[in-house]
Symmetry: C2
Subunit: 355 residues, 2 copies
DNA sequence: CTGTTAGCGCTTTCAA
DNA sequence: TTGAAAGCGCTAACAG
């Protein structure tokens, strides 16, 4: 007996469009048309059908609908993790815009593992997401570029659109939308803020070579130094991940290694800043009286620790990504948007009077 | 001309199982069997098919597969918002466990609006999610109970499972899994902590009647007071939402309304605590020297402001929800789990010496 | 305005 | 071990 014969074994099952049609005494096509609301129909029929729908508690089967050629209404977002505030805010932006455009949102996490990322993108491809949004900084080596380009092409082939959010572009021949924000500009601005206050020895916390985000922030820092004709001391660039614990560790080690040779600190993000601040306090140094401190992101702890930082339009990033992806008439288009960043001045910087 | 005739208009399209079959010189059934790996097959055929798959860059169509009767491998999570740290952490837990069990994760947000929630659950039903996880506190009135019960039954009918995460149970006859954490116990413990330190006038910040989470925390507070034979003053319970800004506002208003009539503050969550702390500082009061302060959740700002608080197993909540939902052999089962909470002592409480 | 019907791409009998 | 064919639930020609 074929599986499909489905003997009436008493097991109730969700009702189908056929059940509704039978119940209302019309054809399935009529039900389909009335539900999609794209065709005119007799009010009486309409009423009958809606009544049947309600009585049978019918919901359409999204798989069947997707199969039958209707563009599946969903966008996918792939992030390293949802708990990181930056990703969470971007994800929120994606969500908002997706809902506004009547789309479902699928979220995948990779934990920062490229292999896992590949698998996740594959999965999204199976699901026929209208757009796949990759967010987060990564190692920008050649292998990566190659793979991304392949994703983009495969997605374009399937009528979908790859979006790189907060990642560097891949080149004009790759059909991907890129939505970035101005890391270099923000870092330049906040370093200048410190320099204008008289600081010349500024510790950079969170250098992480090969990763696009810290790399650009470091670049902005260096450029500001150069613009202000302040000598660049590589010894002031401390390596570390972009986490609170790393910030704490970097600062403790630096302070314990010898006499303090800096008057201000630029943390590559607010979490590092929070960790560094805890370390400073532990060693009896106050912010901003003894040491000035700035961060980057304008996220969660920033306000609580009165941190002067660079505001990043996280939600806007996500919203723009969706808008661009769905807006482009032809999927597989290359576009590039750069969102601005700006300083938020709180109370973590004091002028340094050089003598 | 029927849509399906699909003239070869030069538009490349994603390859189907049929393309693979043709390319490998076998039947679609063979390809299907080899890809699912559930049937024995000749090694030579296997190789041919895998080669074709690689060459054509074939990925299966999840819709078709879903339609053909394979349980769609996805769980859905519905939250108020992903940026709220609590939801983010629960979502992360759900993600983790979902991935571990080989499932895709669909995230929907409601913005706290019941109507929107209904629509979202409906959507998840269309998608045939294996489990629908609702997280977050809500108004627990009769209309809500009714609607939830309906969800649960509809989902069960479709072979799915409703999970209520951090929400009160609905009753034994409703086929839903409930995963809660001990709000009352945690609130009781931390209030006792304050009472043991000699505080008798404890301000409760964030009463919000009708919402399950603040309600239970308030209940724990009251019970601790009663257990310690400390008179209960309703005037110490301040109404407000569970947000930083509300915490700030509540505290400012209280301080400006007259002489301070409390020595300690129990904020219904860490965000309220952070806002209240900012307000206290603004009015020249230090934590913990002048006022003791505790929170609930053990999330983001808690560590940075040295807050003694109640730890909630956020991720574990999400993981348990998925495990239970997928583990129950028969969907539509009722289960109930209560996860424990415990105090994290930092540095926001000082003994109060009563005279 | 409504009914009939042919697929969408896949899995799973059944037969060989 | 493999192939042929039915059918999952839905939509969109096409023909009334």
């Amino acid at each position: 007996m074929p599986r499909q014969a489905r003997p009436d074994d008493g097991q109730p099952r969700p009702s189908t469009i056929r059940d509704v049609a039978r119940h209302a005494g019309v054809s399935v096509a009529t039900v389909s048309r009335i539900l999609s609301g794209t065709y005119p129909s007799a009010p009486a029929t309409r009423t009958k059908v809606m009544k049947a729908v309600r009585e049978l508690d019918y919901v359409a089967n999204a798989h069947a609908r997707g199969l039958a050629g209707v563009r599946p209404k969903s966008v996918a977002i792939v992030v390293n993790s949802v708990v990181s505030p930056h990703y969470a805010h971007v994800a929120q932006g994606v969500q908002d815009q997706a809902v506004r455009e009547g789309r479902l949102c699928i979220v995948g996490t990779t934990g920062g593992d490229p292999e896992h990322e590949l698998a996740t993108v594959q999965l999204m491809r199976e699901e026929h997401a209208e757009a796949v949004i990759l967010v987060g900084n990564i190692v920008a080596d050649d292998a990566y570029r190659e793979r991304m380009a392949d994703y983009a092409r495969a997605l374009a082939l399937a009528g979908s659109q790859l979006v790189l959010c907060g990642r560097p572009p891949l080149g004009d021949d790759v059909p991907a939308v890129v939505v970035e924000y101005d890391n270099v500009g923000g870092a330049h601005a906040i370093t200048s803020h410190l320099l204008s206050a008289g600081h010349k020895r500024i510790l950079f916390l969170g250098r992480y070579d090969g990763y696009s985000t810290p790399d650009s922030r470091l670049a902005g820092y260096r450029r500001a130094l150069a613009d202000h004709r302040v000598p660049h001391d590589p010894g002031l660039e401390v390596q570390g991940r972009m986490q609170r614990s790393a910030g704490y560790r970097m600062m403790i080690e630096r302070l314990d290694a010898g006499p303090r040779d800096f008057t201000a600190v630029f943390a590559a993000n607010d979490q590092i800043a929070a960790g560094a601040r805890a370390a400073l306090r532990e060693r009896g140094l106050r912010v901003p009286d003894d040491v000035s401190l700035v961060g980057f992101d304008d996220l969660s702890p920033a306000e609580d620790i009165d941190l002067t930082t660079v505001h990043v339009p996280h939600e806007e990033l996500g919203r723009t990504a969706v808008r661009l992806a769905l807006g482009s008439e032809k999927p597989g288009t290359a576009q590039h948007v750069l969102l601005g960043t700006h300083i938020i001045v709180r109370d973590s910087v004091r002028p340094y009077l050089d003598r």
